[in-house]
């Protein structure tokens, strides 16, 4: 059996088990409500979930813009200039090892329990890997390529647009993949901790009243969001970095980074 088919069958089997096991009484509905009752719960409260999803999506979108925009910008500066690199990189790298979630209560004190504190937290959370990857992507550009471009008369701006940016794209994208995923994590986690709106808030509220079907409906929504994000990144990767597919090491390295090398302590 091909790996893809196998993978698909495993997913289908898991979905089926989700429905069958609770219905057969093998798992209490409190621990795992069946898929159909989860979907039904979500459907019955569609208005509430829809509103929560809108809040969460808004927070994710704004945080994503901050995290990715800021990460790419600062990463580019840090990657191309040695002095800021020496100043900032050790700081950022050690900050990356800190479980940043401990800072979230501080943000709520500063910014309140509305969207602002979530956006601040998720932005910083996603910013770090994006910046580190961008800096690495620019730092590791083969100097021979820049020298060759210069020998052909490329000006500084031509070197930036025609060499530095295309050469850095694969690494930056793998950073975005991690950074974006962390933005989603950051938003949902902070909503679960201290909040008054959003999917994370709903999950946490329904949990306190032991309403498992609604909890799982929220979990499903977060899952769907993460999968949509992943699909979007994959699509961009396919569009933007065709040249990576051929370098045998290249793609697997990017996957390694995405898979774990850049994971922080949560």
């Amino acid at each position: 059996m091909k790996a893809a088919t196998l993978r698909r069958s495993i997913v289908i089997a898991l979905i089926a088990l989700w429905e069958i096991l609770p219905r057969a009484g093998l798992i209490p509905e409190l621990f795992l409500p069946s898929l159909s009752s989860t979907l039904l719960a979500g459907w019955n409260e569609a208005g509430e979930f829809g509103h929560a999803l809108a809040v969460t999506l808004y927070e994710v979108a704004v945080s994503m813009a901050f995290a990715c925009g800021g990460g790419i910008l600062l990463g580019a500066v840090v990657g191309s200039l040695p002095r800021p690199r020496i100043l900032i990189m050790p700081m950022v790298s050690s900050l990356y090892a800190v479980p940043l979630v401990i800072l979230y209560p501080v943000f709520t004190v500063w910014l309140g329990i509305g969207s602002e504190s979530k956006i601040a937290f998720a932005s910083i959370y996603g910013f770090l890997p994006t910046m580190l990857a961008t800096a690495a992507g620019i730092q590791t550009i083969d100097p021979q390529l820049l020298l060759a471009a210069r020998s052909m008369g490329a000006t500084l701006s031509q070197r930036l647009v025609r060499v530095i940016i295309p050469a850095a794209i694969p690494t930056v994208l793998s950073g975005l993949r991690v950074g974006g995923a962390l933005v989603i994590v950051g938003v949902v986690v902070s909503e679960m901790l201290i909040s008054s709106a959003g999917i994370g808030y709903l999950i946490s509220r329904y949990r306190t009243i032991l309403d498992s079907p609604h909890v799982f409906a929220g979990v499903l929504l977060v899952l769907a969001m993460a999968m949509a994000f992943n699909a979007a990144i994959k699509w961009i990767e396919r569009k933007a970095s065709i040249w990576q597919t051929g370098t045998r090491g290249g793609q697997s390295t990017a996957d390694d980074i995405a898979a774990g090398a850049l994971r922080p302590a949560t």
């Binding site: 021979q144 390529l145 060759a148 020998s151 052909m152 008369g153 025609r162 295309p166 794209i169 040249w243």
Partner: protein, 265 residues
């Protein structure tokens, strides 16, 4: 056409003149003299090879001829005019293997210097086709570098260096990363291209065999400080053949270079 008034060649196109050139690298602890009082004349259409041990400044000298680095003292002229910055209309440069842009096809790589100058797409394509044909890569234009062998990549690099038809081609250890067989083939290919185009070629290498096999003239350099210690005329007939490698004339030239290098290494 661009106005040529300010770079009207006094010398015939392709002549290289190096006069009393020195290069000092300033480091925090001390100044390193990379080149000292180097003078050299290359006549148009000649194939000149620079050899010498690591650190003798041969690549530095080549970079200065390309306008990629400025000398501390002395003058360098290409086709009669100084070269304060790279000028792909006068000088094409070929580097080691890694210098093709991996995200562009072979064709786009060759077009790159033309695209920088805003040449129209159709013109670019036509010139790139000609250049690729010249280096024997007809039909490989749509491939990306990772789909090409080491030798083919270097052919693309040569095509890129020649696409604007400069009278001078500078080559910095272009075959160093290739295996022995490919290296031999590429040497013959380069000689064929050189004969077909009549370019002035300055070629840097570590390989004594390659030096003697390719060159009209071999310049031997020594390190600390980098200077020219010998200038050999290679009078072996052309076309060069594999059999010459084992001949006495070839051997004595190679021995003479080796004696210089052994002394300084």
């Amino acid at each position: 056409m661009q106005p040529l008034a300010n770079i009207t060649p006094i010398k015939p196109a392709g002549a290289i003149e190096v006069r009393n050139v020195g290069q000092i690298f300033k480091t925090t602890s001390q100044d390193v003299v990379a080149l000292e009082n180097v003078s050299l004349d290359v006549k148009p259409g000649r194939f000149v090879v620079l050899v010498g041990p690591s650190g003798c400044g041969k690549s530095t000298l080549l970079m200065m001829m390309a306008g990629l680095r400025q000398q501390t003292s002395g003058t360098i002229t290409i086709s009669g005019a100084p070269i304060p910055q790279p000028d792909p209309n006068r000088v094409g440069v070929v580097f080691q293997e890694a210098s093709l842009f991996p995200w562009l096809t072979a064709e786009e790589n060759v077009e790159f210097p033309l695209a920088l100058r805003g040449v129209s797409k159709a013109d670019r394509r036509a010139k790139a086709q000609d250049a690729l044909q010249l280096v024997g890569l007809d039909g490989f234009g749509k491939r990306h570098p990772h789909e090409l062998s080491g030798g083919m990549k270097q052919r693309v690099s040569i095509a890129r260096g020649l696409v604007q038809d400069p009278p001078v081609l500078l080559m910095d250890e272009p075959f160093a990363a290739l295996d022995e067989q490919t290296r031999m083939t590429m040497g013959d290919e380069l000689l064929r291209i050189w004969a077909a185009t009549g370019k002035t070629v300055v070629f840097v290498t570590h390989s004594l065999t390659e030096a003697v096999y390719l060159a009209d003239e071999v310049i031997v350099m020594s390190p600390r400080p980098g200077r020219i210690v010998d200038h050999l005329q290679v009078s072996l007939p052309r076309p060069r053949t594999y059999e010459m490698l084992s001949g006495d004339a070839f051997g004595s030239l190679r021995d003479r270079i080796w004696r210089h290098i052994r002394k300084s290494a």
